[in-house]
């Protein structure tokens, strides 16, 4: 683990301080760190462990357990494609195939220009309007491969 730079140190300290009075605040703090830094970098683990009187292994264990937390900053657009059953029943697979083609990346990867991160998600709760995707927290329903291509054009991706 590398030494945390000043920014990481500052963000961790701020998040810890804001949640200091709470019971079991680690997840809250991790959310705060990721909201500010775009990820929970490995170098944040040691200062978090120190501040919360936990072992580094415990903090790492929590960060790595949850799908939402990431170790590296994502692209400018985080595109989450739902892969759960309701979306499958409406042929979400076709959209996923189109997305991989268009962006030239696999699920869980970021485009070479650092613009778009493609991720799988298992249910966005929009099952009556399947297939669904979420882009930077914005939900889109009834996403066909064609609709996906239109959205990708808005993110500056051309096929």
């Amino acid at each position: 683990m590398s030494e945390p730079d000043d920014k990481v140190r500052r963000v961790v300290a701020g998040a810890v301080q804001r949640h200091a009075g709470e019971n079991g605040p680690l997840l809250e703090i991790l959310h705060a760190v990721q909201n500010e830094l775009g990820c929970v970098p490995g170098e944040a683990i040691a200062p978090l462990a120190d501040a919360l009187n936990l072992s580094r292994a415990e903090v790492h264990g929590v960060v790595s357990f949850y799908h939402h937390f990431r170790a590296a900053a994502p692209g400018r657009y985080v595109v989450q494609l739902c892969r759960a059953e309701a979306c499958q029943s409406m042929n979400a697979q076709a959209t996923e195939t189109r997305a991989r083609e268009l962006l030239g990346v696999d699920m869980g990867s970021t485009t070479a220009d650092g613009r778009v991160t493609l991720e799988a998600v298992y249910c966005l709760g929009n099952c009556a309007c399947a297939p669904s995707i979420m882009v930077n927290g914005e939900l889109h329903g009834r996403v066909t491969p064609e609709r996906f291509a239109e959205l990708a054009a808005e993110w500056g991706q051309r096929s």
Partner: protein
Amino acid sequence: MNAPVTVYVPADAGALSLGADRVASAIVAGASARGQNVNLVRNGSRGLYWLEPLVEVVTPAGRVAYGPVNAGDVTALLEAGLLEGAPHALRRGDIESLDWLKSQQRLTGARLGIVNPADIDDYIAHGGYIGLSTALTLAPAAIVKMITDSGLRGRGGAAFPTGIKWQTVLDQPVAQKYIACNADEGDSGTFSDRMLMEGDPFALIEGMTIAARAVGANRGYIYLRVEYPHAARALAKALSAARARGYLGENIRESGFSFDISIRLGAGAYICGEETSMLESLEGRRGEVRVRPPLPAIKGLFGQPTVVNNVVTLATVPVVLAKGAQFYQDFGVGRSRGTIPLQLAGNVKRGGLVERAFGLTVNQLVYDYGGGSASGRPVRAVQIGGPLGAYLPESQFDTPLEYEALSARSALLGHGGVVVFDDSVDMAKMARYALEFCAVESCGKCTPCRIGSTRGVELVDRIVAGANGSRAADLALLDELCDTMFNGSLCGLGGMTPFPVRSALKHFRNDFMK
């Protein structure tokens, strides 16, 4: 300008996903260009998702609905007289006179799509907080008795009697107790928790407050999945409003009783919908299941007695208190009392929220409400109760949607989600997916779930490939593996993954034999 016309455009995530924000802006801008003031209300969804975005205009004759409205339709709609409720191809009239809605029995979702979810006065005007007022006049044991008498069982999936759970917490002689609302609605095909939190968040807040009063808790948490940012915003607004008006916080309504609620966000782990994993996660740890006993009702959050209920269960509590145990009990069949918000989704023409007394059949739901598949192809199967629920073939669509009838067919109701598949579905793929999902989402604490799911994926692959002539042996092995997962897993994730797998094997065996 004329007196403002009130227009409802849902801010429900589903409606937003279909462009409701653009529709709302177009209406406001278009009306203002015509010199007409609009009082825009962002309601929740009524649950007729094939009509979303559903716009409703308040006229002297009542609310007039139009849908589905795209932003591109708005100019023509205004031209035709949208703001007066005039005729148009998209006009649906009084939405409550539509059979789809009229035939429903909405108790838990009574205010969905009707009220402004950010407005506590609107909530109160529509029967909100009557339940809490009643509760504040009763002794805790009397509140618990009402819930027990109502027959309410946990709507999250386990169907455990709510009153018995509350009684256990009430009986614990300690000062610190908690209410933990499970809002980690992770099952595919389910969205009623989300709709309630976005469309009627005060019902959940009131339900939690009544629960706290009943068992002697002073602190509540809503464990909300991170995939629901719209619900997080709606809840945060409602919590502030409730606090500002003395419905939360110190000395609620001058009763001497104090209770407050915080939202805690999950981080994308399906297992945290399991109650003990959720408690671990709430405490800031990995969401690994706890061995029971002790029950959370005795030793729950931070080691204290805790009521763990899901959103629909808690949001149903106010209506029981307001209208009485007998009123609620009178709905339903057998030991499934009251109403169940069924969520109809997937490949279906008219998907959405259908709240009815228990006992509606799958046929009625899929065909009468759903109108069959969205693709127009024959319906082949439904999955009920999320990724761990069984698949039913059409020959079993006469099954009533209630706990015991489904259980008799080795199926379960879970959180009431019903996902429709047409005849293009490959059921071997779906069985494989169930096992793969279990492998991805397993917390890893017990072997049957952690290892069994991975071995299961390999077995399905081998069976489908038909390699080495070992198909019969592999089928027997898969059956044994399901047995081990079912009987040996620590919690429902590993324990219930056999449901989709075995039902697919039983009813759609040919899909494995290609």
